[in-house]
Subunit: 250 residues, 2 copies
DNA sequence: TTGTCCATTTATGTATACATATTGCACCCA
DNA sequence: TGGGTGCAATATGTATACATAAATGGACAA
């Protein structure tokens, strides 16, 4: 009875949204496939009204695409689309870092970020990095990026970054897990952590341009990971989000 | 009968969305004010289902804010929010210009942009600029920015720029009309047009960094206009979108 | 007079019935 | 056999009734 509590506590709309998102990201609904409301009702077990709301929300989340004549289909992404989304996130996070630097983030507000940095250092220091450490890194890395975004103190920018990061393959931690299976893993992790260190330093010293440039470059590590994984094609299973890739002949 | 055609041709959802958006931007619904579904039903004349859809759409358009306990309220913006939104748009348009330059926009695809540039030149050349010319400039300017965005050939970026520009005060032409009443009007117009010229030149010569920098600076003209208008406070009527400004003691 | 609790009212969340538009298939005609 | 037309099936769009949760106001007690 207690195990049903979390499910009971949320609205039907949210439940439908989660169920459908899961179906899409896991690849059970293929890119380009039309997803009718009735079908969605069967999948989620809720009625058409909340299902429709969930579909609209998934559309502006970027996972679905509206069909001109009505209804929705699962969006398909090219490799280029994904790379552009990563560059886009990098650009926005760069702007956030610049804002943080220019507006003089207080020493107190920088404290959580520094703590997060130290925690990441702990995890990265291991060699080889255990799978658990990788998993912990993913969580902590997401926290670092979230804290950095907040430091911009700009609601419109924060909102926009959140929207871009909603696409799983564009999120800061989207490709970290893939690294755990790549030979270049540890080195890339170390480089990424160095970026983290530099951006905090730049913000502290009010070096806006430097902070911005570093965050932009930082996002390109994710692009590098993506390319490595796609060329190897051995560890695609670690990246369920790639189910949305167009003509994925997996 | 024929005059009702355009109204009849669109869905109730779209109609409700337009009606509510108009109410918000015209200031008849004040920032922070809760807007209940029943109230929206009375305003729009359609039933709750499409009204609700419209409210959700206006939320991710950025005009409404969800209330945690349910329902929506009209979003309030600070002057800083607006300035940040403009900087955000400039950053994204800068990225678009860089993409266009780096990816080698073809001479053929640059053609419409150059035509648009020439048209703008025509309009700017007048001194003083007539009100009709200003109005034409607004239209043509919007077209220029749209074409430039398209040149990036990046669907994710285009999507994001469209979302930012949906906020009326963040759109490329949001503050042009205000210029028509400012003494600095003509000069700012000329500078803006020079930016246009430079960015086309930079794209043509594959100078990505230059194209990006110019578009960023270009957006700051809008920021300048905003500050001028707010300091003068004489021509606020030209900018209905400012109804969303927090504590606007107009 | 003020604070708290309960009742009432009004809001949103959900389901479903009905209206209308779109799509696809079959059949007929050229 | 190819193409077009029309009907049937199925999709989305809309309205509304019902369920449930939140907000409000009044009454009573401290």
């Amino acid at each position: 009875m207690s195990e049903r509590d979390p499910e009971r506590s949320m609205s039907q709309t949210v439940r439908a949204q989660l169920a459908l998102r899961d179906m899409i990201l896991s690849g059970r609904l293929r890119p380009g496939e039309r997803i009718s409301e009735l079908q969605a009702v069967e999948i989620t077990g809720v009625s058409r009204t909340p299902v429709r709301l969930a579909l609209v929300r998934l559309e502006d989340e970027g996972l679905l695409q509206a069909i001109p004549s009505g209804g929705f289909m699962v969006k398909a992404f090219t490799e280029r689309d994904i790379l552009d989304s990563i560059e886009l996130r990098g650009t926005l996070e760069g702007l956030a870092a610049r804002f943080a630097a220019e507006r003089g983030a207080s020493a107190r507000s920088l404290e959580p970020l520094k703590e997060c940095l130290a925690d990441l250092d702990q995890l990265v220091r291991q060699d080889p990095v255990s799978v658990e450490a990788f998993s912990a890194y993913v969580t902590m890395n997401a926290r670092f990026h979230a804290l950095l975004t907040e430091l911009s103190a700009s609601p419109p920018l924060i909102r926009q970054i959140d929207r871009v990061s909603a696409l799983p393959f564009a999120s800061p931690s989207g490709f970290v897990m893939a690294q755990s299976a790549l030979p270049e893993a540890h080195q890339i992790l170390l480089i990424g952590q160095d970026h983290h260190r530099i951006v905090v330093d730049a913000i502290e010293n009010r070096e806006g341009a430097r902070a911005e440039a570093v965050m932009r470059e930082h996002s390109r590590l994710a692009a590098r990971n993506l390319r490595l994984v796609l060329r190897n094609r051995t560890h695609l299973d670690l990246l369920p989000a790639l189910a949305l890739l167009k003509s994925s002949a997996e």
